[in-house]
């Protein structure tokens, strides 16, 4: 943990060296998600609800998913750039160090310009939390925290999966975008609006819905079963195959020697 904090400070310091560049990129990141927000806002100038969810309720979804994604992306950037690390031989250096490999890949990169998105998500929370009509009792607060943290870990798992696949092939990695970037983009509406099949897929295969729509129903008081509150924890099971696949890739990894 101490090592992690050291690296965290180091990356932060190095990115703060180019302040103008950093601020502009962070502003750009902010605008990217702001345009998604505007898109939702504009849609709701024409419609009052979508599939039974109001604007404020939708915003809760948007903020949860955006916050979860941005935190995962900020800290898990190393996995995103992992194919490059494999390509340039940087990875071999990680292998000879006496630390956990996944931990080292995690440390290799952090991207703080994603703070722009985190701020966006926080602002939307500030608006949506009092306006969504949720009675904020302690269990609801816990639910919301679970949604964000577990969501973040699931996205983290997706990034890890992306890195794991790059052990086997560098072609076609673009397809993973539909789950990572797509998860963020389409998570702006409750996943139930996309229909039965998509919801089922996002429940059992890539469990994005487990930390979004189900606990949201609990927040809004539409279901009272505590099970819905705890479903985000179940979504963490997704991390198991991700780590296993990474291990498998690692075992058959042969360096290019360069």
């Amino acid at each position: 943990m101490g090592l992690y904090i050291k690296y965290f400070a180091m990356h932060l310091k190095s990115q703060m060296q180019y302040k103008v560049s950093f601020c502009l990129t962070a502003l750009g990141q902010f605008l990217v998600s702001f345009s998604a927000f505007l898109g939702i806002y504009f849609m709701f100038t024409h419609f009052n609800t979508v599939e039974g969810f109001t604007f404020q309720e939708t915003l809760l979804c948007f903020a949860v998913v955006l916050m979860a994604f941005s935190l995962a992306e900020m800290l898990g950037r190393g996995f995103d750039l992992f194919p490059r690390m494999l390509g340039n031989g940087e990875f071999d250096r990680a292998l000879v160090r006496p630390r956990n490999v996944i931990f080292q890949v995690l440390l290799s990169q952090m991207d703080f310009s994603r703070l722009g998105r985190v701020i966006q998500a926080a602002l939307v929370f500030v608006y949506a939390i009092p306006n969504s009509g949720v009675l904020w009792t302690w269990d609801k607060v816990v639910t919301l925290i679970l949604m964000v943290t577990c969501g973040s870990l699931v996205f983290f798992g997706l990034f890890l999966l992306y890195a794991a696949i790059s052990f086997f092939t560098v072609e076609g990695l673009e397809f993973m975008n539909i789950f990572t970037d797509g998860g963020r983009e389409f998570g702006r509406y409750p996943f139930s609006v996309y229909g039965e099949n998509i919801l089922r897929f996002l429940t059992y295969i890539i469990p994005l819905a487990l930390f979004q729509i189900y606990p949201l129903l609990y927040l809004l008081g539409r279901v009272t079963s505590r099970l819905y509150m705890l479903l985000p924890l179940v979504s963490l099971l997704f991390l198991v195959p991700c780590v296993l696949l990474f291990r498998l890739g690692l075992r058959r990894y042969k360096s290019t020697g360069s």
């Binding site: 180019y18 103008v20 560049s21 601020c23 502009l24 990129t25 502003l27 750009g28 990141q29 605008l31 990217v32 345009s35 998604a36 505007l38 898109g39 504009f42 849609m43 100038t45 024409h46 419609f47 009052n48 609800t49 979508v50 599939e51 072609e171 076609g172 990695l173 673009e174 397809f175 975008n177 539909i178 797509g182 983009e185 389409f186 509406y189 609006v193 996309y194 229909g195 998509i198």
Partner: protein, 267 residues
């Protein structure tokens, strides 16, 4: 003219090399398009009367957008041009006996065309074969289709000439990633990449439709679907021509200014 055509061909062949990547890209765009359509369908089911376009128009709009992503999206970035400015290899470019603006213009449009050509056919083919509500429809008439082709060409011109302005701005600032991200996001949103312009609230929409960004993907996609037809379509095309001229002029002028004072550091 011939050297510019050569650049065109070269870029085209270049972009056609990465077929596996293109295949993954197609699959991604396909899934993406479906999710977009499902989201709009949810709104449509909730309140069909409040839907500002015909549903089939929206479906065609999204499939076309996915098929021609490379043609119209501002966030496609010509890395070669940018790096030639920041690395200084622009010095070579300047001694070549070809107009730099035209050269880059050709290079950027050729790259976009090649990428789109590679990706559009499979997406369109499948989109035409889908079951009913999600199927892409044909344009209402031959004339409308002709207008679409014209509008698409103009749109490509507007997109490329606008991005030329961003490249040229690199002569003056050296923080490309931030500037690029900000302009790309703003212009794509105002061009109707996130949601089509008819979904914008009325007063905002009236202003946005006059901006150069509305002359980008907004115009050809809506002309194809028949959302803009007849006199409106012709007026739209004129607006596109107007913005294309303005952007070309602005690009030429700033380029000249930039090249006059450019200093390439060292060997």
């Amino acid at each position: 003219m011939k050297p510019y055509f050569g650049i065109f061909r070269l870029r085209f062949i270049n972009a056609l090399q990465y077929r596996a990547a293109a295949l993954a890209g197609i699959a991604t765009q396909f899934a993406w398009g479906f999710m977009e359509i499902f989201a709009f369908a949810a709104f449509y089911r909730t309140d069909p009367g409040a839907f500002p376009m015909a549903f089939s128009e929206t479906v065609s709009y999204i499939w076309l957008q996915q098929a021609f992503l490379a043609l119209f999206m501002m966030w496609f970035w010509e890395g070669d041009i940018a790096s030639s400015i920041t690395s200084g290899s622009i010095a070579y470019e300047m001694v070549r006996p070809a107009d730099l603006y035209v050269r880059w213009f050709c290079q950027a449009s050729a790259n976009r065309l090649a990428r789109a050509a590679l990706r559009c056919a499979p997406i369109l083919l499948v989109a035409f074969l889908l079951p009913a509500p999600y199927r892409m429809s044909l344009p209402p008439s031959i004339g409308q289709f002709a207008l679409f082709i014209l509008s698409a060409a103009l749109s490509l011109g507007v997109v490329v000439s606008f991005s030329m302005l961003i490249y040229i701005s690199l002569f003056f600032t050296l923080s490309p990633s931030g500037v690029r991200l900000i302009t790309a996001v703003l212009s794509d949103f105002l061009a109707g990449a996130t949601i089509p312009l008819p979904f914008f609230p009325e007063p905002v929409r009236a202003v946005v439709e006059l901006l150069p960004f509305a002359s980008m993907q907004n115009m050809p996609l809506r002309v194809y679907t028949g959302n803009i037809a007849g006199a409106d379509a012709l007026r739209g095309l004129l607006l596109q021509i107007f913005w294309l001229m303005m952007l070309l002029l602005a690009g030429r002028l700033t380029m000249k200014k930039a090249l006059n004072k450019v200093v390439v550091q060292g060997g």
